[in-house]
Amino acid sequence: MLAISKSFYSLILTWCCIFVLIFYVVYVLEESNSNETDLHFHKTLLMAEENNKYSILLPTYNEVENLPIVVWLINRHMTEAGHDFEIIVIDDGSPDGTLDAAKQLQKIYGENKIVLRPREKKLGLGTAYIHGLKHAKGNFIFIMDADLSHHPKFIPQFIEKQRERDYDLVSGSRYIGDGGVHGWDFKRKLISRGANFLTQLLLRPRASDLTGSFRLYKKHVLENLVGNCVSKGYVFQMEMIIRARQFGYTIGEVPITFVDRVYGESKLGGSEIFQFANALLYLFATT
């Protein structure tokens, strides 16, 4: 009996050692990747914090009901926190008059606060960011949904987080701390958690929420990432954060609540799941 358990333990021990070794090798490799950001970290620390300007990119399509509310909330929270900001509305030719709503808002809040960058028709999210970035005056860029699922009250928290350690990007996460979702049934939650688990396992992204699109970027970081991402649709957000890790950018996280669309329809169908699986495999093989 004793002999069995002894050899059994030695077998287990060997396996454990192998696992530890593998994890150590992976850890060392990843650390060496991220070291180059340290230099950058010290350089940007010297920049005066007070001169920061935040450009908030709002790509819209049929958001006539949500846009005024979002703009009003952004204005309230940014003014309260005393941050300099501008909102860049990139409307993709919405037939519901989103652009007219944006023009009204521009009259109320002024042309330096609301910037309109409309496009003729619905084009990709990535090109919307490139389009908006061209005219962004801020050194920091916020990306968020204009459908009220992302609450502007979190914006000052993103800024605080960013300043803590001069992060290159701060990502909102539904999966940590007080974060959460509203309006999701069991099936939707299960798919979300399952997909997240699989992604964490395969990609080890060091960020808990990959498909969320409420994020704060340094302008040059976003410019670099957008130029290097090829995905379309919502998996674009996933590629952005995975590439960020690949390039060694530092990532901070803020818990956010995601309130599913108050007005309008939310979508999660077979094609979204297929897109997700596709993107996951692509990133698994290439990053």
Partner: protein, 97 residues
């Protein structure tokens, strides 16, 4: 090194060890006494990991915050915003009323 390569590396190391033990290139008395256990160990490992994954995902699904407060607060703020915007001269599309 891509994630795919990392996985393949780890996987091939484990397979190498497994085959070495299976073909008795490496002596281990426990393995010699339990050849069945060794033979099925990859499947056992996969099943155990599957159970672990299932437990984690289900636990996280059930403990996923519902953000009821945030949703209620948002509804109030929408009303607030609409009143305030109307005062500022914003005209909401008539179909909403």
């Amino acid at each position: 090194m891509t994630k795919l390569l990392e996985w393949l590396t780890a996987f091939s190391i484990l397979v190498t060890i497994w085959i070495a033990l299976l073909t008795k290139k490496v002596d281990n008395s426990f393995v010699e006494q339990h050849p069945q256990l060794l033979l099925y160990s990859p499947f056992i490992a996969i099943i155990l990991f599957g159970l672990f994954a299932l437990a984690v995902v289900l636990y996280r699904t059930f403990t996923f915050n519902n953000a009821e407060l945030a949703a209620a607060e948002l509804q109030k703020e929408i009303q607030e915003a609409r009143t305030s915007l109307t005062k500022l001269g914003y005209k909401f599309p008539s179909k909403l009323s």
